[in-house]
């Protein structure tokens, strides 16, 4: 058994893993990156379209270009990494076990662990589409891997269910590879992804976007032969009589992403309702010394935000190793964050009371789109701690706020903070 002993071990080498590793290394700690694929970079490598890096580098890059910069940095800093290596166990003493073909069984003893395994796609099973179980049904990301990395096409004629960004980007990508995309079908009344992708990936190629519809039946016993789509009502129930048949030989699903949580659970880390781990404002999970960042924590809309979050994680993990590791620490008092009206989830889940004087970054997503809203933070007595106006909110965009709660005059005995997104009172008056 090969043994490693490091300050920080990072699981995953996508945008989150690489940026957090670089930060930890810059804090002069020993770092090890573990990657399951045969090269560094993660899913960003297969996102060959542009639109990355506007925040981080103030220029527009493709996914591979964006991640190459971090790969280069990892190599310049000589951060060791293991490829084709799968972590299968993390125990409470922060021993981590992995396997690869070259070294066999590997044991890593680390002072801090950073979880950066990314997310996975929801599947047909998760949305329970009835019908046959033919071949030719792919998640959008799986098709993206086949087309962009492996160099194979999954079909000729496509229907894409879900108008998330990956779905729309794949619609254009497949069109560019000579395929026919018959339609993008969206159950919601609006596009799930960015407007820019709606215009440049669908409208540019006259690909029909069918909103308020969903796939209600899969046809074809062997290879998929088509789908029935149906209009849905407000409760997403099928409206009888609205069925339309679309012939296709492939169905792509772009129906949402969920944090990858196999290892997170295995490590005994508590999960929150978005599927990612419960973390405090230092992105530390319920297990001391285990941190999380990137899509394993929450699904981000922009890779640039992943990078920012990962850099913070690298820093706090380094801070932990230097000042808290192996020391008797008093139980910390925390404030709990709660999702209020039109807030799907909020991160962090907990705030350490001794950090109240710091600027804390909050991220959340709304459940439905709204315009002219008020974002409010309230304590358990309904006193408003913080508020700000926003012109619009949409579920596909992650809202990020940096707030100094002490400066906002939070009460010292505050126990919970509810975050809500509500219509602005003056808007209500206007409408009256």
């Amino acid at each position: 058994m090969n043994k490693y002993k490091v300050d920080v071990v990072v699981i995953g080498s996508g945008a989150a893993g690489l940026a957090s590793a670089v930060e930890a290394k810059k804090a002069e700690l020993s770092v090890l990156i573990i990657e399951r694929d045969h090269e560094l970079g993660g899913i960003t490598l297969q996102c060959i379209h542009n639109g990355f890096g506007l925040k981080e580098f103030e220029e527009e890059l493709t996914g591979p270009e964006y991640i190459q910069r971090f790969i280069n940095e990892v190599k310049e800093l000589k951060i060791p990494y293991l490829l084709d290596t799968m972590v299968f166990e993390i125990n409470k003493d922060k021993y981590l076990y992995a396997v690869n073909k070259q070294e066999g069984l590997i044991e890593v003893e680390a002072k801090a662990i950073i979880l950066a395994m990314g997310c996975r796609e929801r599947t047909r099973g998760a949305i329970n589409i009835p019908g046959f179980r033919p071949s030719g049904i792919y998640t959008a990301g799986q098709a993206q891997r086949f087309v962009n990395i492996e160099g194979y096409l999954p079909g000729n004629t496509f229907v894409i269910l879900g108008s998330g960004d990956i779905g729309m980007i794949m619609a254009r990508r497949l069109t560019w590879e000579g395929c026919k995309v018959k339609a993008v079908v969206e159950i919601l009344p609006y596009v799930s992804g960015l407007l820019r992708n709606q215009v440049q990936c669908l409208e540019d190629y006259e690909i029909p976007l069918i909103t308020n519809y969903t796939v209600t039946k899969i046809h074809g016993r062997d290879r998929i032969k088509g789908v029935t789509i149906s209009k849905v009502d407000r409760n997403f129930d099928r409206i009888v009589g609205s069925e339309k048949f679309i012939e296709c030989d492939t169905l792509l699903l772009s129906v949402g992403l969920i944090p990858e949580n196999e290892l997170t659970l295995q490590a005994g880390v508590e999960l929150s309702k978005n599927g990612g781990p419960v973390v405090d404002n230092n992105l530390e999970t319920s297990v001391e010394g285990i941190f999380a960042c990137g899509n394993v924590l929450q699904v981000h809309d922009l890779v640039d935000l992943v990078t920012a979050e990962a850099k913070r994680t690298g820093k706090v993990a380094a801070e932990y190793v230097k000042s808290r590791y192996d020391k008797e620490i008093k139980a910390r008092e925390t404030i709990k964050l709660v999702s209020g009206d039109n807030v799907n989830y909020v991160k962090p889940d907990l705030i350490n009371k001794n950090d109240l004087s710091n600027d804390i970054i909050f991220t959340f997503r709304v459940s439905y789109p709204d315009r002219r809203v008020l974002i409010q933070f309230k304590d358990e007595e309904n006193s408003i701690i913080y508020k700000r106006k926003k012109i619009y909110v949409i579920p596909s965009e992650m809202v990020e706020l940096s707030i100094n709660l002490e400066k906002q005059g939070i009460k010292p005995d505050c126990k919970t903070i509810t975050v809500e997104v509500i219509p602005r009172p003056e808007v209500l008056i206007e409408e009256d």
């Binding site: 073909k101 069984l105 998760a126 009835p130 160099g151 096409l153 395929c179 196999e262």
Partner: protein, 489 residues
């Protein structure tokens, strides 16, 4: 070559018969119409090994089931397939149902079913199965009921049969049977087979096969059962949970699988199309509502797949297991529930029939009843794993992260005596793609391994044979072709 016995059908029944007969000094072959065995009713099955109280006394299936259940103990020891006697509950929620359970218990005990107990202590019931509805007022507990992976058991049976000399032929749909001078000639898609005895275990198509030799005395009706499978971490059940049965079926159950998942289903819908394994919106609703009667908090958000299976329901509602008037032709048809439980008892009956018609059943000296347990990454200690990886590094390349399946298990599944040739074949043998990601992560890698090990192109790799291809070709080739010729629709 003239076979002593030809078994038609590679489901659990056919494979169990072939394996049971493989101990004798006979030339045996099994022919299957699909690209893999365990591909029909066996695959879409609840995987419940029943205690035996369920079937009516006037049906032979009751005795087959009671006997079959007992025979599992030895079978597991020899074949090492996943099986656990976790026990079952039939759940009463109304006073008048208690009487029915008491009668079932009495009849069951009289017929030799061990341990049947009527439990009326709600606290004890909830302790034994905390997820059960609060409406429960009593349960019939059958401790000998169990759960099994029906396809993994079938693969185990087939492997052991092959080790003991049975020849398997896939993609060999029977088109015509002639018989003359005590010799059967079977014309199939894979050529002609000749044999002295034929065992018809063709599942849904057994009536059709029977008619090929002029035996037209029963009909089979496909009855669809739909299921929803939930993720492993979503719920943990201790018992197989049945409602009070209806006239047509045992009702919609909520049940743990041998791999730690939970499922709800099946409903029972009579259909006409023997290939219709589609699920329906109404059916899925029905099973969810049915399941909620037993377990109100079904983890619907953690559903990972829905699927349907077809039962072959005979017009007599009982097994059609006959030494027929056509000498040497044995029907093993209409194997509806509890067919899976009964398979070992059914195979014994076939042995008896063969003996009766004068087939010499002489045990071979070199018969090996043991099919070793497949080696699994998950079962190894760290020390064992270290050693295994040194022997073969393929143990260290994890292909399926949901189920932690290394390349080695997949390669073994391909080169097994009854090896996997398709992606589903691998999925059902060693589970990559069975987890919550539905194969999203592992499928490209499984395709790569199949392509490499079988020496076929990526395009030739299929989900389950025939027209179930995954990929149409390489990107730029298709792009240039489509631009020149237009998109093929």
């Amino acid at each position: 070559m003239i076979f002593d016995v030809i078994v038609i059908g590679g489901g659990v029944i056919g494979c169990c018969i072939a394996r049971t007969l493989s101990k004798y000094d006979l030339n045996i072959c099994l022919i299957e119409k699909e690209a893999d065995i365990a591909n029909g009713t066996t695959k879409g099955n609840s995987g419940v090994v029943h205690a035996g109280y369920g079937a009516p006394r006037e049906h032979t299936r009751r005795q087959f089931c009671i006997k079959g259940n007992k025979l599992y103990t030895q079978a597991v020891e020899e074949l090492n397939f996943p099986f656990q006697r976790i026990g079952s509950f039939v759940v009463a929620v109304e006073d008048n149902q208690i009487k029915f359970l008491e009668e079932e218990r009495k009849r069951g005990i009289e017929d030799g079913i061990p341990g049947l107990e009527l439990i009326l202590d709600k606290e004890r019931i909830k302790y034994m199965e905390p997820n059960l509805t609060n409406d429960v007022i009593g349960v019939l507990h059958a401790p000998t009921a169990g759960i099994v992976s029906p396809y993994e058991m079938t693969f185990a049976l087939a492997e052991n049969a092959v080790i003991n000399g049975v020849k398997f032929f896939l993609n060999a749909k029977v088109k015509k049977i002639t018989h003359q001078d005590y010799l059967f000639k079977l014309k199939t898609k894979a050529g002609e087979f000749q044999g002295r005895n034929v065992i018809n275990a063709a599942g849904l198509y057994a009536a059709k096969i029977s008619k090929m030799v002029g035996l037209d005395y029963f009909e089979l009706m496909p009855r669809k059962g739909e299921y929803i499978l939930f993720d492993r971490n979503a719920m943990h059940l201790n018992k197989v949970l049945f409602p009070i049965p209806t006239k047509v079926s045992k009702g919609i159950l909520v049940c743990p699988t041998i791999h730690g998942n939970t499922f709800v289903g099946p409903n029972a819908q009579n259909i006409t199309d023997k290939k219709d394994i589609s699920t329906t919106e109404a059916g899925l609703k029905e099973i969810i509502e049915g399941g909620r009667q037993l377990v109100p908090n079904l983890p619907l958000r953690a559903s990972i797949k829905n699927f349907a299976g077809l039962r072959a329901v005979p017009d007599t509602y009982d097994f059609v297991i006959d030494n027929t008037d056509v000498y040497g032709f044995i029907n093993v048809a209409g194997i509806l529930s509890p067919g899976l439980t009964s398979c070992y008892a059914i195979a014994e009956r076939v042995e008896e029939y063969l003996e009766l018609i004068g087939v010499e059943l002489k045990t071979k000296d070199d018969y090996n009843p043991i099919r070793p347990k497949p080696e699994r990454f998950k079962d190894f200690s760290k020390e064992q794993l270290d050693g295994k990886i040194k022997e073969d590094p393929a143990w260290a390349r994890i292909i399926c992260r949901c189920e932690m399946i290394p390349e080695k298990e997949i390669v073994d599944a391909i080169h097994n005596p009854v090896g996997a040739k398709t992606v589903d074949g691998i999925k059902f043998r060693c589970r990559p793609g069975m987890g919550r990601c539905g194969g999203g992560f592992c499928r490209p890698r499984v395709i790569e391994i199949l392509s490499r090990e079988l020496g076929i192109t990526y395009q030739e790799v299929t989900k389950r044979g025939e027209d179930t291809y995954f990929l149409i070709g390489k990107t730029k080739d298709i792009q240039l072709r489509n631009i020149e010729e237009g998109v093929k629709e």
